[in-house]
Symmetry: D3
Subunit: 281 residues, 6 copies
């Protein structure tokens, strides 16, 4: 008969799926709040450990909140509740809800953020844009692969828009609307550090988030109107896509070990933007 695992037992399964060794050196992944011997009957997945999400998880009686983004990426010397991060720590501990981060390890792993994006878009022969220093050949940041059939940039951008969860604002595109695209590079979340990797991989188009004026402008000037084109999407939306897949993967892995855990994915939009004003595309 299925058992309720401890936090430690869940951590062991998570380490198998999204090994901490795949995280970037500057990252801070793993457990952030919680006791390793506490029982974990329900798990909540979300992108951001913000107040509204924490409130949702605690209200739902979750024992563990797994987020993509770290709460404490830069070290803190206080967790008093006057800061929003301290407030989150207090709320979680008072509710007996643990917090776990799967960030760049969740990006790089097989079945991680980038693999999920790649699969939803139907890329073939996808491989990492920046292979992991240590790890399998399939692991690393970003992905580059090929669409089964080429299309126009305009059509492809509409496809990208269509697969993403709705947020305020849309998908910005740099390039010729009628340009042909088939070779696709992508990086969920902020991927400006891979702009030149996408160019060197001879991508027709590069999908990522949080592109600012100067990196985008310099990347476009570097190719002088040619490829790769750029598609800038919501940071949140590009990473949210991973949550249902991650929940399902974890669910199976726990079941395989004889554990019975209820897993939910947060439906809260934590993109910081609430609405937008636009004249028309």
């Amino acid at each position: 008969m299925a058992q309720t695992p401890t936090l430690q037992e869940v951590l062991d399964v998570v380490e198998d799926l999204w090994p901490a060794a795949l995280a970037e050196p500057w990252d801070a992944v793993g457990p952030v709040v919680g006791r390793r011997d506490s029982a974990v009957g329900t798990i909540h997945f979300a992108v951001d450990p913000v107040s509204e999400v924490v409130e949702e998880a605690c209200a739902a009686g979750a024992d563990l909140l797994i987020t993509h983004h770290p709460l404490l990426l830069r070290g803190v010397t206080t967790v008093e509740a006057g800061t929003f991060k301290g407030e989150v720590v207090h709320r979680l501990i008072e509710s007996g809800c643990a917090l776990l981060t799967a960030h760049t390890n969740g990006d790089s792993a097989v079945g991680g953020v980038n693999d999920v994006l790649s699969e939803i878009l139907g890329l073939q022969d996808a491989e990492p844009l920046h292979p992991a220093a240590e790890g399998l050949a399939e692991e690393g940041l970003g992905r580059i692969g090929t669409l089964p059939r080429g299309t126009t940039l305009g059509e492809f951008a509409a496809t990208v828009f269509g697969i993403l969860p709705a947020v305020a604002g849309g998908v910005r595109v740099a390039g010729d609307r009628d340009g042909f695209v088939q070779r696709v590079a992508l990086c969920g979340g902020a991927g400006d550090s891979l702009l030149s990797a996408a160019r060197e991989a001879e991508a027709d188009v590069y999908i990522t988030a949080d592109l600012r004026h100067h990196p985008a402008s310099e990347a476009r000037e570097a190719v002088r109107g040619r490829r790769p084109y750029l598609i800038d999407v919501s940071h949140f939306a590009s990473e949210w896509l991973w949550l249902p897949a991650a929940a399902q993967t974890l669910d199976r892995a726990l079941a395989d070990r004889g554990y019975d855990v209820e897993i939910a994915v947060s439906g809260i939009n934590t993109d910081p933007w609430d609405f937008f004003v636009v004249g028309g595309p």
Copy 2:
């Protein structure tokens, strides 16, 4: 009778209007290409020294291109034309067109980017968000001021959208559409470094560009749904507004010294984004 000035004579006038001493320590402002004794009969203003803009200026026979953004912010050890920056250097020198940068000095100065934004929005009693280390009390980065009459965030965002030149994508807003706003902070271009200054200045809303997920999310969490709200606009659009004002100011200052120069403002949209896909606001 009016005379055609040399580049050196134009530089002297520019130094009066937007003194190099107002530039941030990391910035690189002043002349980038050109001979100081060449005659400057026509001046072209633009935000970005990108190929299309340079082409436009050279094709129009401009003797001087003044841009807000530096071509060579980070030092280069080559200007060969295989790099886009080297190509720009070649094109300009071959066409006899000089290049001049007025960047953070143009932001901070009286009558600079932020003052123009502030005036177009009708702010009263505006003062710098981050006063210049050296300089007048009216000089510095960003501005904070008060609308003559309070309004809702939704109305105000529509106003902001309306004053900006059209680019692909719109204006993203974080906050309550019906929330009251009257005290406005702003910073043309990328202003995430002033997010806490806007909060400390007790702004109801902060307008800037290039806000990425994490700074925006953390800024919103820090106030837990309350003010300042955020309005994220196009980096290019927010700075383009300065160009007509700057052109007019320079025109008058040159005329005051008896110089006759033809001044034009580039109409090219150098926002890197060509189109966008959106479902609706």
Copy 3:
């Protein structure tokens, strides 16, 4: 009628007594755990926020634990309970007990650690060994003053031993047992950074803690057997002396504002040493 203050109201009083601005730049003082609007009816003072102390405070129902040493001097990216610091955070939040650090601000302030040591030893005309960069002339690290009557080093060391709370190990002395001492320098806690200041202040003897072989040896060689002699005491013991005085001072300051709070001083010895083996002095 006396009222129970909130944590914020206690923080305001603490800031008056031991201002955060007096802390060294590398230090991390102020609130570490707790909600600012929670009621503080009982306060517990201790030197170290270690498990046993936290247990004592929580068991006693304390609402606030004030310690001299910071729990999180170096920033942490996790507070999960598998680390001892995370365990402390969990225990405190689960018990509703806040935590506050008064460290180098508590050393430097008037009435702080060094002043208390100085008074108990009866030093006259005491002043800081290293005056605070900003603050009153009476504030700063360490103290230097004069005994009303000179004595021998041996006698004085016995006096020092006598005033300190009992810990495992005694008081180590470098110098001539019969040497005359009257001018006394001291620094509660680890004070090797002030060894040369004590020499330059022409102290006959310098009392501090945590002196290692090389600093002590070099300091003695520098004076070639002459003064200042050195007295090395327990780090914990030298700082514990401050607790009763600090408790009393805070009690009065709270009462002056009409607050009624119960204050206790921990009796737990957090010197890390449990026993010692010795042949005889």
Copy 4:
């Protein structure tokens, strides 16, 4: 017939015994004072190159003083006799006595400080706590090994006290006096950098010197009252034990090469502490 070696010939033998390549990168080992062609008929061993030791060696007519601690660990730009290090340089050169340092190379080498401590305590299967980056598997900092028969922490601390030369102060112990110990980690001199290595090696007890409040307290909290226990001894005493063994080893190595040298070990206690005051263990 046996010959008197030159300093260079002694240096060659020393390099075989305690190779300079075993020294830590920050260390400064090898000859410090002396002429390589001078005859070395008598050698003096000591822990510290302090005035009293140098005086003893010179008075005894030693041609070479070998110390564990470097005189000039941090580079000096003067050796004028007004500084104690300059005074030592003058005294040595005036007396024709060379000075040689065998520091972390003497710690790490086979037969070095840690091996001697390990042997005197009767540890079996001892190996380095932190193996040397380059060198044999038996070389490195610290040692970890097993007592033939387990004992209590109290008994073992008494044993440790008993084997060390007498200094002012005793042996401080953190842990349960009746706790069982058999697996022993040790590091002569200041060994706080190996505290976590001792824990990871699953030592029951770790013996070292110069443990300050915070490292000791944090190390004890990390194991929450369990093992490794800590035994803090005199820095000088822990390293002095090496001297007779080192003298004997060097004596044999010189004799093997047909050299006749008289070797003495300093009896001066250079622990900086002259006496201590204690109420009782």
Copy 5:
């Protein structure tokens, strides 16, 4: 029939002769000015990209100037013509003359500066003083080899003087005029970083340029009047010797690929010194 190559085609040949990978990490080699698709019918070689040399090349209608020294070793944020480097950039672009640097790659390569010096002096079995980190055993900085017949330092210095192009000032020599020399170390240009390498290689004499008082004095003191002696030559002169050889090598390599290019070597003395005053040797 022979063809005129493009700049890109010349760059490909240069990369074969003097690979960029041989350059030191701090160096900046490769193309500096020019368009890769421009035709290169005439090439000019020189040591320094100074105004007079650039004037000569442009006046001669050169399409490419290859210099040993980089124009922009430290990155620049402007090339306006008010700086001499900017003036050179303008002059070259206006004349359609490209600029290419072959600096430490030209020193280290087979057939580079040091090999040419070595051959002209008739050294046998020459090998690098400081082998390249990556590359062939024959590649690296400086050379060490043997004269077929030993001679006196005085005679050898006269030979060195005789092979160098005439500049203001002569050849300075440290050492015994009658001392025997046969093993010769050399480094074209400023070679003080190889002074100890020359000593360790047991050279009788080391030839280099730009030796200042302190490095030369310390190098001579280190050997206390013995070898290696030092010969200090003109930086320019020592590197100029490479130009005819480099021109010839490039000419052949281009011809081998079926290209027809006219190659000239600048005769301008760019040693900064115009004349000198001397009493007699």
Copy 6:
């Protein structure tokens, strides 16, 4: 009746003449070897503390050697006699001869190296090129002044050559032999750091030593053949000129305090170059 001073008493007088506070932050001035209570009956002055000079001083029975250049500018961790600096330390201590450095304090002070050069050349209204951060207006590095009558660069270079002590090699000059010079900048020793200061001070000619190819070439290019011209002299020769003046000044200052000391100036040429080969000026 006149007395023989101690080293300490000589140090006091030296501090008055050439205060240590005038030394550059990177410099190491003051006593290097010796006992402060030893008698100083004879003092020897020299530029460099090299073996031959030290031998001369010791052979002459000097009690104190004062040199311009520091023996230990970079800190040393050994003074064993196998290094030349260690050999010098041994020789001096064995001979009872102290060593004192007056380096950049001797450059900057009134009556220092630069003032002496300036006076010998007859400059009027001379003032520092780089005024000392703290000190009198007359103190600082380099000097700039005016010749009573202008002359040609060729004539002036001959004058400079004529006043310097004879060394191997002559005086190198960059500029027009017939160019007019009247405003003269100078810096004894290596003065490339003041090249731009000389230009900004509008000197006609700048005299200094140790100019390497690149600084000299760039300085000449920056003025494009115009002034300041450059005169490169021997580092040693330019500083030796100070010795007789310094000896006389110290002699008087000691006599003023009633001390009787014999002072000599070394006649050894410590320019590292022994001879030179030249075809003719």
